[in-house]
């Protein structure tokens, strides 16, 4: 009986408590749920104040947002629309949300995420920026009639561009506006640059468009031709149209179909003023296009347009302009006339910092030799310059020739290097012996650099490609008396050149020994090319600390006659080699020569002094690179 009582009491208490809790839960659950929904969707309630927790705020899934920047659309039944969208800010993707009511007015704006510059673009997330959107008409929003952020044209421009697309989508989907389809727009653009109502005929299949930026060729009424062209701007993916008149062959119009360029910078290419420049443009005046500070974007347009002009000239005017590809093919065949195949082997061998491309050349199955493409630093000290050339090496280890491809050395100085006579002066030279190559007067530095690079390629070919040891020329010897001119305090000398890498400006390297046969320094026996073409031979001593002793000119045919009228060198100071200029290289630290090469070349004898200076600085560098005697 007692147990029964316990059970009944417990059951009753639990039952009554549960019923109480149940009723309270019934009252409070909807309120709690509404609160939770509101918390989770604060931004939506903020941009669309009429929203209530009971409204369906699930995103719509039946719309295509391509090209609209929209990421999410919520249709609030009977109340309006909430859009989430994103755009590229100055340095971050900015996401935002707007509400639009049924009258076509914005109900609010809120930036959701951004990572732009604090104080500038980041102000887009400042709540002070938001109120201006409340009540703004969609027309004003689409036109960008908003107060932008001072100093942040890109961020503001990105927002305006995105708003424009969002509103355009909104108007088409919900306000009955008729959207211009991409096809309609394309036809409109084509008509704008040719003739309204013209018939466009696709003739792409009549032409070989490989290796051109052209994706489509169309004729408009047989009076004009329209090219569709892909170009790369600051961002990839510029697609534009350009029309040529078939009578005058002038450019008569330009329109951008699509691009992803930065708002307010690269996107000016989509601007009427910019496009007006093409309305009647001589086909050879492409380079004159301007009006944009976006050099990269503009460069992308110009480069491709120049290629289109070449194409147009060849196909419609019968003027053949050699393209880069044609030129490359020609140069390769000039170096290997018998070649039928160039097999890329660049990645099969250890890289060399100056060699950009390497090919094995075949005629059928017969190996003819190797073709190397070199891109290396040019001669200028004041700015970065480059030289680019092809060099052929035949199976018998002789050069087949040299062909300059491009450079940006001092304008005009390098013209002669492009001549076949120059390139052919390499032909037949054994790559392991001294090269007999034409010198180009007036461009000594480039000249020396090219010869040095040719040797580098030869060494690479022998040692890396063929896996052999580069046969260096026999060391040339000097008598002690000559060596002592360069190192007066040494009593004997001992050749050590074989311990170090061969350098084409060094004949030999000697240890300078004192009376007890201890090494006190080194003497370089080297040579540089003089003005007359004959070698200037010299010996140059340096002690163990890198301090030079004397630079002794041993043999030359130079003359200072040209210098006689030149300021300090009036002749009374002696003829070469007994001139003060030479003493610039006495008692100087190698490290100073390399870090601060402020020794001027001497006008009127600049070829001699320039050559000497380059070779001597090269030796200082060699001394350090090769750690001669532990230097380095």
């Amino acid at each position: 009986m007692k147990h029964l009582n316990i059970i009944i009491t417990l059951t009753l208490v639990v039952l009554i408590s549960s019923i109480g809790v149940y009723f309270v839960e019934d009252i409070t659950t909807p309120i709690i749920d509404a609160y939770n929904i509101r918390q989770a969707n604060l931004a939506k309630f903020e941009v669309f104040p009429e929203l209530e927790a009971t409204d369906d705020i699930s995103p719509e899934e039946d719309y295509d947002f391509t090209g609209t920047t929209i990421t999410e659309l919520i249709i609030v039944d009977g109340k309006g629309y909430i859009y989430s969208a994103e755009f590229q800010g100055f340095q971050s993707i900015i996401t935002y949300m707007i509400g639009i009511d049924l009258d076509g007015n914005l109900t609010g704006y809120k930036t959701l995420t951004q990572g732009d510059t604090p104080g500038l673009g980041a102000e887009i997330a400042n709540p002070d920026f938001y109120p201006q959107f409340i009540g703004l008409s969609t027309d004003d929003a689409a036109d960008g009639n908003i107060d932008g952020i001072g100093g942040s044209t890109i961020t503001t421009g990105g927002l305006i561009g995105s708003l424009n697309k969002v509103i355009e989508f909104h108007n088409v989907e919900f306000e009955g506006a008729v959207a211009e389809t991409p096809e309609m727009r394309l036809i409109r653009l084509k008509e704008e640059i040719t003739e309204v109502g013209a018939t466009f005929t696709d003739v792409s299949s009549d032409y070989d468009l490989t290796n051109t930026p052209i994706t489509k060729v169309e004729k408009a009424n047989d009076t004009a031709v329209i090219y569709t062209i892909t170009a790369e701007g600051y961002y990839p993916g510029i697609l534009y149209l350009v029309a040529f008149d078939l009578t005058t062959n002038d450019i008569i119009g330009f329109r951008v179909i699509e691009h992803s360029e930065t708002p307010s910078i690269g996107d000016v290419i989509d601007d009427e003023t910019f496009q007006a420049q093409f309305d009647d443009l001589d086909q050879d005046e492409v380079d004159s296009i301007g009006g944009s500070t976006a050099t990269v974007t503009l460069g992308g347009i110009k480069t491709t347009l120049e290629e289109v002009v070449i194409f147009h000239k060849a196909e419609f005017q019968g003027i053949v302009v050699e393209t880069e590809d044609m030129k490359r093919d020609r140069l390769w065949l000039e170096l290997f006339p018998e070649a039928t195949e160039f097999r890329d082997i660049y990645r099969d061998y250890t890289a060399h910092h100056d060699i950009e491309e390497a090919y094995e050349v075949y005629n059928g199955a017969v190996y003819l030799g190797n073709l190397y493409f070199v891109i290396a630093d040019g001669a200028s000290y004041s700015e970065e310059t480059y030289v680019e050339f092809y060099l052929g090496i035949a199976a018998d280890k002789t050069f087949t020739g040299f062909r300059m491809w491009d450079d940006n050395e001092t304008p005009g100085r390098t013209n002669d290097f492009y001549l076949n006579e120059y390139g052919d002066s390499y032909t037949g030279d054994n790559i392991e012996e001294e090269y007999i190559i034409d010198d180009i007067a007036g461009s000594t530095l480039t000249n020396n650099i090219l010869q040095g690079l040719a040797l580098d390629v030869a060494v690479y070919h022998i040692e890396v490609y063929l896996g052999l040891v580069f046969a260096r020329p026999e060391n040339k010897e000097l008598v002690d008396a000559d060596l002592r001119l360069a190192y007066p305090s040494a009593s004997s000398f001992n050749s050590v050149y074989d311990d170090y890498t061969y350098d084409d400006h060094i004949y030999n390297i000697y240890e300078a020994l004192d009376g007890s046969d201890a090494v006190i320094g080194y003497v370089y026996y080297g040579h540089a090319e003089g003005y007359t073409g004959a070698e200037i031979e010299f010996a140059w001593g340096v002690d163990l600390t890198g301090l030079t002793q004397k630079l002794a000119i041993l043999n030359d045919t130079e003359s200072w006659e040209y210098a006689q009228e030149w300021r300090d060198y009036d002749g009374s100071q002696g003829y070469w080699p007994d001139t003060p200029w030479i003493t610039n290289f006495d008692n100087v630290l190698f490290s100073d020569l390399l870090s601060d090469p402020d020794i001027d070349d001497v006008a009127n004898v600049s070829t001699t002094t320039e050559n000497m200076r380059i070779v001597l600085e090269g030796i200082a560098q060699y001394h350090s690179d090769e750690s001669v005697g532990g230097a380095g």
Binding site: K2, N5, I6, T9, L10, V13, V14, S17, S18, G20, V21, V24, E25, I27, T28, T29, I31, I32, Y35
Partner: protein
């Protein structure tokens, strides 16, 4: 049992001051330490305890004659737990920010020994009116206790006194705040100092001499 029956007023003030649950009985110390970072949450917690304690005392007093001894504790717990559940739902529905700031301590009122303690010690032996008065007195005494601790912790530790939502009075600049007071250890410090002060007045001189 020659004990004089206490009046309702005496019962009420008993909990409020003489037998203050926080400083004299040391009951419900867990929330005392946990939710006294700000005056606002202490007030909220206090209000919750008032609700639960008054109703639980009332309910238990009403059924005290029908409850078999053997299962009285489980039954008290069922009643208290139901009341706490109801309280939690109301708070989440109508004062969600407060519910968030009290967090799990709201549910933990169930195991506040003050509530079960009063049910066992008072409500199970007294009539409904007296039980309600006892519950109210104890709960307000508890509230006063934790608000006092929270006042010192928040004032000295964070420099403010938050009454409700964003209504905070900034009183002490950051340089002069005692950061440790808003940490867990700070609750013990403030608690100890206040108990010491109360004991000084509560206990007679003679007793203090004895202690020494």
């Amino acid at each position: 049992m020659a004990r004089k029956q206490k009046t309702i007023k005496e019962i009420f003030t008993n909990g409020l001051v003489v037998q203050n649950p926080v400083f004299v009985q040391f009951l419900g110390i867990c929330p005392t330490l946990a939710v006294t970072k700000s005056v606002e949450s202490a007030l909220g917690m206090g209000a919750g305890v008032v609700f639960v304690l008054v109703l639980s005392n009332l309910a238990i007093s009403l059924i005290r004659n029908f409850v078999p001894r053997e299962v009285r504790i489980p039954i008290y717990i069922v009643i208290i737990a139901s009341l706490v559940t109801v309280l939690e739902m109301f708070m989440k529905a109508f004062v969600p920010d407060l519910a968030t700031s009290l967090g799990t301590f709201l549910s933990l009122i169930v195991v506040n020994c003050l509530i079960l303690g009063r049910a066992e010690a008072f409500a199970s032996k007294n009539g409904p009116l007296k039980s309600a008065a006892d519950g109210l007195g104890m709960a307000i005494g508890f509230t006063g206790g934790i608000v006092l601790i929270a006042f010192f912790r928040e004032l000295l530790g964070a420099g403010t006194v938050t009454l409700w939502g964003d209504i905070a009075i900034e009183l002490i600049p950051a340089d002069y705040q005692v950061g440790i007071l808003v940490q867990a250890a700070g609750a013990f410090l403030v608690f100890g100092v206040i108990v010491a002060q109360i004991n000084k007045f509560r206990l007679g001189r003679a007793e203090r001499n004895e202690v020494i």
